[in-house]
């Protein structure tokens, strides 16, 4: 089958690539665009290590064809920090609160937490746990991840208040 022309906006930049229609978005991101932050951890759309932000939604990029994403705006972990290198409060909070160990689930986890906090800026512990229930971690037992997200939420709402 012939390849399609895929146009995406990824982490603020317009990119183009050629891909077979059947090529999964995760493979296009990792192999064509060299964005190896999102990872593959399973075959059945469970683990969430491949999570990216697509058109304002948390999406498992292993369950989306690049063709379906044609024209979309995508944010991956590589786009979370500011252009000048300032880390996103989530990235800092994960480090501060030991919310990662082997790092494999981390890009998907942080990207998901980002959208969670956009949708719910002040989540309770239960809401955070439900909010990340599409992201599996084998190392941390989630406790410090929840702490990190809670801390980032607080910091983000404080700076939002300060800005207003």
């Amino acid at each position: 089958m012939t390849k399609m022309h895929i146009k995406l906006t990824v982490n603020g930049r317009a990119v183009e690539t050629l891909a077979e229609p059947r090529m999964l978005l995760i493979h296009v991101l990792r192999e064509e665009l060299s964005l190896t932050g999102p990872h593959i951890g399973c075959d059945t759309s469970h683990c969430g290590a491949c999570t990216v932000d697509l058109n304002g939604k948390s999406v498992k990029s292993c369950t989306v064809f690049a063709a379906q994403a044609n024209g979309a705006t995508i944010l991956t972990i590589e786009g979370m920090a500011a252009a000048d290198g300032t880390l996103h409060p989530l990235q800092e909070a994960f480090r501060e609160h030991h919310g990662l160990q082997c790092g494999f689930c981390t890009p998907g986890m942080i990207t998901r937490a980002y959208r969670l906090l956009q949708e719910n800026p002040n989540p309770s512990e239960a809401e955070i746990r439900a909010g990340i229930s599409g992201n599996l971690c084998r190392c941390t037992g989630y406790q410090n991840i929840v702490k990190a997200i809670r801390a980032a939420a607080e910091r983000m709402s404080t700076s939002k208040e300060a800005a207003e």
């Binding site: 059947r22 190896t36 469970h46 991956t76 972990i77 990235q91 494999f104 229930s133 084998r138 037992g141």
Partner: protein
């Protein structure tokens, strides 16, 4: 502040040494998506390799039709056993003295076994090619039940072992038998059991599970034909051992092989062994002359890579009427699947299962283990535990509870009566181990007090009465677990893997401007070695941890080590690190004495400097000494400031802990809520409390999964169940409770910094605590023992068998 004026306390803080909650240096790259895992590697001309795998659990291969696959554009090669045979690579040695088929030779022995290796230009083409290969099978009867493996008329599994009555571990008594291992005093145990006032007997099965790290196994093999140099990046928990094994198998000399473990997304034991994918990738790279990448799917990982447990244990425990244990007997039937690919020290085909006397003072004991072959995936490995230690711990912790039931004693009380006393250390167990140190009663008391154990038992009494009155359909369970682990393998005299002694190493080089690089023989898969080993060194040599780079995983630069698994890094490589640091400091002392024009003995160490005794204003900091090492060393001394230590530990270490789990079991649905989980760990000296806590959280979560739902089961045809994440139970953040962690500190007397290792303790202690809790919920109604996993339907079945549900 000037170097002189800073207080010792301030300088200590600056070091971020032992005991500091130092933030991790690894996090910078992981939180920005700049980790470097095997599947991130992209090399020019790289091809992709993929397997055709067996449909059946046991079958003859009648034919393999490769033509359609070879005709597909982009397919470069298809390897089968036929191509590997002339190279004698169709079988490879396992870490347990057996051999394993790299590609199935005439016969398949487990569902998912590797039959052919396709090499293509990308993973999509490789997948298409795999689908085009046709294998014709003649199905054979399969064995999925180890208790049937040694039946007189059991099917023959290992044609390649026909006629071999001796295995790597002694005599084989049946064509499906692998080894018998025995330790302890059979006669004394038999007679103690015969004389005993009380004997409790129980069959305890620890189901087959799988470490399932989030990153699957894989490698990139790159043969440089011009220089005759092989480089392999891969998910290797023991890169040096892989290099040696690769050299022995391939004939390429070891100095021409470079093994690199990059970032690894979790290991948990799954990534210790050598898999057919690694061998096939190497062969394919040699044949094609370009790099070949192999990355398995999740289902392949669960189907074919090293499983854990599958231990079928029968225990007999003898005691006085007061509950004082007098003897223990255990027989284990160990299901190793189709090939014994267990990752154990050579002399221990059942690992350290003989720690199964646990934390208890048991005067006589006897253990026999029979390993057998079945039509299941080969293995097994130590999944988040030391070798077979979680099996041993689960066994004794259940047996203690079973005995408690029989004697109508409280499970905490019976433990109190039998725990090894502090004055008994170093304690020589009836099965041959010398436990280095422990203060068990202090830990037990602290745990029980913190959870208000007496209050919990009162609450349970009220709950049981309310249940009997029909006021509630929930039963409360309290599970106690007091484990002793044996980790840090180990002394060369009894611990080796394929003849490689299980020492470990650290090599340090201090730079002129006072920073340093240290390389170790271990390899982190998330444990944070780059952070914690720098802390050990910082405390030893007085250079801030932030100024010490720690590297692991590249066999070209790292000193030889046996890798990271079985909680051995801190006990062995951590010791090597401290010892190498002391060598550095010893040389530094001589340089400082020379600079200060005093005798070595006139100096004392003060956090980050040597100062003159009695004249503390005269000192030299490590930074000053470092520079001097490059231009002003005493006559006769070599310049430079570097040291290496290869550490042969005198003993294993013995971390221990007291865990309490509180659960509420809903009898109508079999659903168990984890109400509370308290974990007290004693890992000796605590290097980084933040990291320890993280390890405990993670290990407990894995324990929850194992106890409450995880298993790899096979039906009678050899079909594997639960080999995708739809059914293989990995809890999400919703199923995972909040973990309460606590500690006591009983340093190891033989370890240079008194540390014992902690990464796997929570999995060991956690499984027993959960299982004891679920069993405890029904204990008052007559339940003696029900097996894991305690998933909904099994718990409901137990409730039904006790007449609790209509």
């Amino acid at each position: 502040m000037s170097a002189a004026a800073e207080t010792a306390e301030a300088r200590t803080q600056k070091l971020e040494g032992l005991g500091t909650k130092r933030k991790r240096v690894e996090d910078a790259r992981f939180t920005q998506g700049k980790g470097h895992y095997v599947d991130d590697i992209k090399l020019p001309g790289m091809l992709f390799g993929d397997f055709v795998r067996s449909q059946y659990g046991h079958a003859r291969i009648k034919s393999i039709k490769k033509d359609a696959a070879l005709a597909l554009p982009g397919v470069v090669a298809v390897l089968t056993a036929a191509e590997l045979k002339p190279l004698k690579l169709h079988y490879m040695p396992t870490l347990a003295g057996d051999v394993q088929a790299v590609l199935a030779d005439e016969k398949v022995l487990f569902q998912g076994q590797e039959i052919a290796f396709v090499v293509a230009q990308d993973r999509y083409t490789a997948a298409d090619a795999v689908e085009l290969i046709e294998v014709e099978y003649e199905e054979l009867p399969a064995i999925n039940d180890p208790t049937k493996a040694m039946a007189p008329n059991a099917p023959v599994l290992r044609d390649d072992l026909a006629g071999k009555t001796e295995g790597a571990h002694g005599k084989r008594k049946h064509h499906n038998h692998i080894f018998t291992w025995e330790v302890g005093d059979a006669e004394a145990t038999t007679s103690a059991l015969a004389r005993a006032e009380v004997v409790a007997k129980e069959r305890i099965v620890y189901q087959r599970v799988h470490p399932c790290p989030l990153e699957t196994c894989g490698c990139v093999a790159s043969m440089d034909k011009i220089n005759g140099h092989l480089t392999v990046w891969g998910t290797f928990q023991a890169p040096h051992a892989v290099r040696t094994v690769a050299s022995l198998i391939s004939g390429i000399p070891e100095h021409k092989i470079r093994i690199i473990s990059p970032d690894i997304g979790g290991g948990f034991g799954n990534k210790v062994g050598v898999y057919p994918g690694y061998i096939c990738s190497i062969v394919a790279s040699i044949v094609t002359g370009v790099p070949v990448k192999w990355i398995e799917d999740r289902m392949e990982n669960l189907l074919a890579t090293a499983f854990a447990r599958d231990y079928h244990m029968t225990g007999e425990i003898a005691a006085t009427k007061e509950g004082r244990i007098t003897a223990l007997r255990c027989h284990v039937l160990a299901d190793h699947g189709a090939f014994d690919a267990c990752a154990d020290p050579t002399k221990y085909p059942a690992g350290f299962f003989s720690i199964c006397t646990g934390s208890y003072d048991i005067p006589v004991a006897h253990l026999t283990v029979d390993g057998v072959y079945t039509n299941k995936a080969p293995g097994g490995v130590a999944y988040r535990c030391s070798f077979r230690v979680t099996e041993a711990s689960y066994f004794i912790e259940r047996m203690i509870d079973v005995l408690a039931r029989k004697l109508q004693l409280d499970p905490a009380e019976i433990r109190r009566r039998n725990l090894i006393r502090k004055e008994q250390f170093p304690y020589h167990s009836a099965l041959g181990w010398e436990y280095d140190s422990g203060d068990y009663l202090t830990a037990l008391d602290k745990a029980l007090k913190t959870v208000d154990y007496a209050g919990l038992r009162d609450e349970q009494r009220r709950n049981r009465a309310a249940f009997a009155r029909g006021e509630t359909r929930q039963l409360m369970g309290i599970g106690v677990s007091f484990f002793t682990e044996i980790v840090g393998a180990g002394p060369i005299k009894n611990c080796d893997i394929l003849g490689l002694g299980m020492f470990d190493s650290c090599e340090i080089r201090v730079h002129p401007t006072g920073s340093a690089i240290a390389r170790l023989g271990t390899i982190s898969q998330g444990q944070g070695h780059a952070t914690t080993f720098a802390q050990i060194l910082a405390s030893e040599i007085g250079i801030p941890a932030a100024n010490i780079t720690v590297e692991e995983g590249d066999t070209d630069t790292a000193p030889y080590g046996l890798g990271t698994y079985g909680s051995r890094s801190t006990p062995v490589a951590g010791a090597a690190t401290a010892m190498a640091g002391r060598k550095i400091r010893a040389k530094a002392q001589m340089i400082a004495a020379y600079l200060l024009e005093v005798h070595d003995d006139d100096l004392e160490w003060d956090v980050d400097r040597f100062r003159v005794k009695g004249a503390p204003e005269r000192f030299k900091t490590m930074a000053e000494i470092a520079f001097a090492a490059y231009n002003k060393v005493p006559p006769g001394m070599e310049p430079g400031l570097e040291a290496v230590s290869y550490y042969d530990p005198p003993n294993m270490t013995y971390p221990f802990g007291a865990y309490v789990a509180v659960v509420d079991v809903e009898v109508d649905t079999g659903v168990t809520q984890i109400r509370r989980f308290y974990a007290l760990d004693d890992c000796g000296t605590r290097i980084n409390p933040m990291i320890i806590e993280g390890q405990v959280h993670g290990g407990l979560t894995e324990a929850l999964a194992i106890a409450m739902g995880q298993e790899i089961a096979y039906d009678e045809f050899g079909n594997a169940k639960n080999v995708s994440l739809l059914d293989f139970f990995l809890p999400t953040a919703v199923e995972t409770p909040v973990w309460e962690t606590d500690h006591t500190t009983t340093p190891s007397p033989h370890h240079p910094i008194g540390a014992k290792g902690v990464g796997e303790s929570p999995n060991v202690g956690g499984v027993s605590a959960f299982s004891n809790a679920v069993n405890d919920a029904f204990a008052h109604l007559g339940l003696v023992h029900t097996a894991m996993p305690h998933d909904h339907w099994r718990v409901w079945k137990t409730a039904k068998s006790l007449g609790l549900v209509s």
